[in-house]
C-alpha cells in the first residue's frame, strides 16, 4: 500500500541534522525500579490532581494516589508498590527550576499490581465509557503538551470528525522515543488508533510519519496487515522540521489550515500522538493506567544513549546512573529536544508524563546559546522559515519594547516556539526567548487584571454593605425617634404624671383582681376580717403617701 496520498507544504521549516542514530542503536531498555519515585501532582495542562493518599500509606502498583480535580484534569497512579514516604515540595521539570508538590513513594521492590478489572473490548463500549476509562487511566498527550486525552476525544455531539490524524512525525532532532515505540510495539499503536477512531467516529484516519523512519513505517504496515486493518492510512511525509507541529502536520496531510487562535477541531480534525495511542490501548483493553513511558536518553554527554521504558516519577539522576552515567564532556542538560526543550539546572528532578527526552550536550556539539547576540540586520530570514507565517522580527521588536498589546496584533500566540527563527538568525538573537518572555508577561498582566477586577467588585460590595448598614442604623434611629415623638403628641403635657397614674391604675386593677380571686377570705371570723381590713387600709395609705 504505497502512499498515493496527495501531500501539501507548510510555510517555512528547516532541514536539520537529525542526530537520531545516536539513540536508535539498541532495543528499548527495561523498566527499573529506582530507590524513590517523585510524582508531581501537576503533570498535565489543567488543574493539578488532588492527593488521595497520605504519608505512610501503603500503595499498590496502579493504585490511584491523586484524583482528578475539575474537568481539565486526570488522576495519578502509583507506578510501583511501596509506601508513600512524603508529600512535599520538590524540584520538577520546568524551565523555572521551581518546586511543586509531589507525592514521594518508596518502592518495596515487589512491584505488586492492584486488581485490574478484567480486560474489555472497546467495540462493546460506547464513546463516553471509553473516554471515562481513558481519563481514569490518567492519560495525557505524550507528545509533549500533556493535554488530557479524553477531552480531545470528546468533540461534542455536533462536530463530525473528518480526520483522525496520528502524529508519528517526531520531527525534532535527537528524539527517537516514538520511533522506537513504533518499531517495537506497532500493534499497540494500531490498536490504540482503532480505539480512538471508534471513540471519535472519525471518517478516516491518517498516520503522518517522517520519511527518516523507514523501520517504524514498515512495522506499522506489518501490524496493520497482521491485524487485518485497511482503514488506517500510513503516510510518509518529507522530513522537514517542524512537520510534527499539530497545525503543520494537518496542513501537510490534508491541506487544511487551522484558524489563528483556533483548534484543529475547527477544521474537523483531531490530532493525537502515537505514544498516546499505545497508552490508550493498554488502558482500554487491560485497564492499565499510565505509569510509565518511553524516554530518549541521548547526546554526546551520555555514555550509553538509547531509549528506555521509565516509570513516571523516576529521578533523572538515578536513571542516568542506571544507564551508565555521563561523559566528562557533558556541557548542558536539556529536557526535551534541542529546538523546543529547556535547560535543566539539576538532574535531581523526576521524569513526568510529558518527558520525552533528556539530552546531554557534549563538548563537540554546537551550542548556539553561548553566542553573543548582535543587532538585527532586518534580513528577513526568520520570516522565511516561520512555519506559523508570523513576522518574527516584528514580534521581537514589540517584545523588546514591551508593547504587549501590539505584539498580539502580530499573533504572538500563534507562535509554536519551534525555534526556527532563532536557529537561522545571523545575529544570534534569542528570538524565542523573547516570545516566551512576552507570553508569560501577558499572562501575568491578565492575571493581575482579573485580580484587580475582583478587588474592584469586592470593594464596591463592601461600600454597598457599609452603605446598607449605615442606612439600616439610621432607619432604626429614625424609627425610635419617631416612636417617641408620636407618643409625645398623643398625650397631654404632663405625660409623665399620666404615665405614673396609668401604672398605678394597673397596680390597683391587679390588686382588685387578686382580691376578687382570692378565695381563702370567705367565712372569716370578725377578728380576722378586721385584721385584713387594717392591713389593707395601711397599704392603701402607704401607696397614697408614696404617690403624693
Amino acid at each position: 500500500m504505497q502512499s498515493k496520498h496527495k501531500l501539501f507544504n507548510f510555510h517555512g521549516g528547516l532541514h536539520l541534522p537529525g542526530h537520531k542514530e545516536i539513540s536508535t542503536g539498541q532495543a528499548i531498555g527495561d523498566v527499573f525500579i529506582p530507590s524513590r519515585l517523585v510524582l508531581p501532582l501537576q503533570q498535565h495542562i489543567g488543574e493539578s490532581s488532588e492527593a488521595t493518599v497520605k504519608e505512610g500509606d501503603p500503595v499498590l502498583k496502579g493504585q490511584i494516589i491523586a484524583k482528578a480535580n475539575g474537568y481539565v484534569s486526570v488522576p495519578l497512579h502509583a507506578p510501583t508498590s511501596g509506601t508513600v514516604s512524603q508529600i512535599i515540595e520538590q524540584p520538577v521539570p520546568h524551565p523555572s527550576g521551581l518546586s511543586a508538590t509531589c507525592i514521594v513513594i518508596k518502592p518495596d521492590g515487589k512491584d505488586e499490581w492492584i486488581d485490574l478489572d478484567s480486560s474489555a473490548d472497546y467495540r462493546q463500549m460506547d464513546p463516553s465509557a471509553l473516554r471515562n476509562r481513558i481519563r481514569d487511566a490518567g492519560i495525557v498527550g505524550l507528545g509533549g503538551a500533556g493535554f488530557p486525552s479524553f477531552i480531545k476525544l470528546n468533540p461534542g455531539a455536533k462536530t463530525a470528525i473528518d480526520e483522525l490524524i496520528i502524529n508519528a512525525a517526531e520531527c525534532e532532532p535527537y528524539i527517537t522515543c516514538d520511533d522506537m515505540l513504533m518499531r517495537e510495539r506497532a500493534e499497540d499503536v494500531i490498536n490504540g488508533i482503532r480505539i480512538m477512531k471508534h471513540a471519535l467516529q472519525a471518517r478516516r484516519c491518517l498516520i503522518g510519519i517522517e520519511d527518516n523512519k523507514p523501520e517504524a513505517h514498515a512495522a506499522l504496515k506489518d501490524a496493520c496487515s497482521k491485524l487485518g486493518i485497511d482503514d488506517i492510512e500510513i503516510i510518509s511525509i518529507p522530513t522537514l522540521y517542524p512537520a510534527g507541529g499539530e497545525k503543520q502536520l494537518i496542513k501537510v496531510l490534508t491541506g487544511k489550515e487551522s484558524p489563528s487562535h483556533g483548534l484543529p477541531l475547527d477544521v474537523g480534525v483531531v490530532c493525537q500522538n502515537v505514544a498516546t495511542a499505545a497508552a490508550i490501548y493498554q488502558a482500554v483493553t487491560y485497564n492499565k493506567p499510565l505509569i510509565s513511558r518511553i524516554v530518549t536518553l541521548t547526546g554526546e554527554g551520555i555514555k550509553q544513549p538509547g531509549n528506555h521504558e521509565v516509570l513516571i516519577g523516576t529521578p533523572v539522576d538515578e536513571w542516568i546512573t542506571y544507564c551508565g552515567g555521563y561523559h566528562d564532556s557533558i556541557k548542558r542538560l536539556v529536557m526535551g529536544g534541542p529546538m523546543m526543550g529547556f535547560n535543566l539546572g539539576t538532574d535531581k528532578i523526576p521524569i513526568i508524563k510529558t518527558s520525552n527526552c533528556v539530552l546531554a550536550f557534549g563538548e563537540g556539539e554546537a551550542d548556539a546559546q553561548e553566542q553573543q547576540a548582535m543587532p538585527c540586520i532586518r534580513c528577513g530570514a526568520c520570516m522565511d522559515v516561520c512555519p506559523a507565517q508570523l513576522l518574527p522580527q516584528q514580534l521581537y521588536w514589540q517584545a523588546y519594547a514591551r508593547d504587549f498589546d501590539k505584539i498580539q496584533d502580530y499573533n504572538l500566540f500563534d507562535c509554536i516556539e519551534c525555534g526556527c527563527c532563532s536557529y537561522v538568525c545571523p545575529s544570534q538573537i534569542p528570538l524565542v526567548q523573547y516570545y516566551r518572555f512576552a507570553k508569560t508577561e501577558i499572562w501575568a498582566l491578565e492575571r493581575d487584571k482579573k485580580k484587580s477586577d475582583r478587588a474592584r467588585l469586592r470593594h464596591e460590595f463592601r461600600l454597598e454593605r457599609l452603605e446598607k448598614e449605615k442606612k439600616e442604623r439610621e432607619e432604626r434611629m429614625r424609627k425610635k425617634k419617631a416612636a417617641l415623638k408620636t407618643g409625645k403628641d398623643e398625650k397631654t403635657k404632663d405625660s409623665k404624671k399620666d404615665a405614673i397614674e396609668a401604672a398605678l391604675e394597673r397596680v390597683r386593677e391587679k390588686q382588685k383582681k387578686s382580691q376578687t380571686q382570692t378565695k381563702n377570705i370567705d367565712n372569716l371570723s370578725a377578728e380576722q376580717q378586721k385584721k385584713i381590713d387594717d392591713i389593707d387600709a395601711r397599704r392603701n395609705q402607704e401607696q397614697k403617701d408614696s404617690t403624693s
Binding site: H94, P375, R378, A401, S427, Q433, F437, A455, R456, H459
Partner: protein
C-alpha cells in the same frame, strides 16, 4: 403571517426583558471616562493617591482635579496607560504619594498573637480578612491587594507583610535583555558598515 407577527412580538418582549435585566444588573455607574480610568487603576484601594480608593481618584482625574502620577502600586505602567488614554505625556511618579514597590506583597496575620479585636476587618477595603470578635483572624491571600491599611490599626502588631511567592503557574520567563544581551532593535543601523 400571524405566526411571524407573534414570533416577532415574542422576541421583542424577550429582548426587552433581557435588556431591562442587563441594564439594571450591569448598569454603568456614571461617567464612562471614569470607568475607563478606573479600569486602568490597580484597585489596591490603598488611598496612597490621597483619595479614599481607586474610583474616587479616577473621578478626580476625570475632573482634572488630580494628576495621573499619584498611584504608587500602579507605578510606571499605570501612568503610561493613563497618559495613553487621556492623551497626556507620561511623567514620573509623584514621590509625595509613595514609591513603586519592587515586588507584590500580601499580609498575613500571626494567629497566635491575634486577639480578635476586628479592627483590621474594619480597615480592609476588600473584605479580605475573615474572623469574628474574639476569634483569630485570617487573611484570604488570594483576595488581599497588599494595601497595608490593616497594619496600623492592629493593636498587637500581629499583621506582617510577605512577598507574593512565585510558583510554576505564575512564573515568568526572564527577558533576554535582562540576561545581558543588551542589543536594542534600533541599533541595527550601526551594523552595516
Amino acid at each position: 403571517m400571524l405566526e411571524a407577527i407573534l414570533t416577532m412580538s415574542l422576541l421583542a418582549a424577550i429582548f426587552g426583558v433581557i435588556l431591562g435585566y442587563v441594564a439594571t444588573r450591569f448598569r454603568i455607574k456614571g461617567d464612562p471616562v471614569v470607568d475607563k480610568i478606573d479600569a486602568i487603576l490597580p484597585q489596591t484601594q490603598c488611598g496612597q493617591c490621597s483619595f479614599p480608593g481607586c474610583r474616587p481618584y479616577a473621578e478626580a482625574i476625570a475632573k482634572g482635579e488630580a494628576d495621573i502620577n499619584q498611584c504608587p502600586p500602579g507605578g510606571e505602567a499605570t501612568i503610561v496607560a493613563l497618559a495613553d488614554l487621556l492623551g497626556l505625556d507620561p511623567k514620573p511618579l509623584n514621590p509625595e504619594n509613595g514609591i513603586e514597590a519592587e515586588e507584590k506583597t500580601v499580609v498575613y496575620i500571626d494567629e497566635k498573637v491575634c486577639i480578635g479585636c476586628t479592627l483590621c476587618i474594619q480597615a480592609c477595603p476588600v473584605d479580605a480578612i475573615l474572623g469574628a470578635a474574639k476569634q483569630m483572624h485570617t487573611v484570604i491571600a488570594s483576595e488581599c491587594t497588599g494595601c497595608d491599611l490593616c497594619i496600623p490599626p492592629c493593636p498587637v502588631e500581629c499583621i506582617h507583610i510577605i512577598p507574593v511567592e512565585e510558583d510554576i503557574s505564575t512564573w515568568r520567563w526572564p527577558s533576554p535583555t535582562q540576561a545581558g544581551a543588551e542589543i536594542t532593535p534600533d541599533t541595527q543601523t550601526t551594523v552595516t558598515e
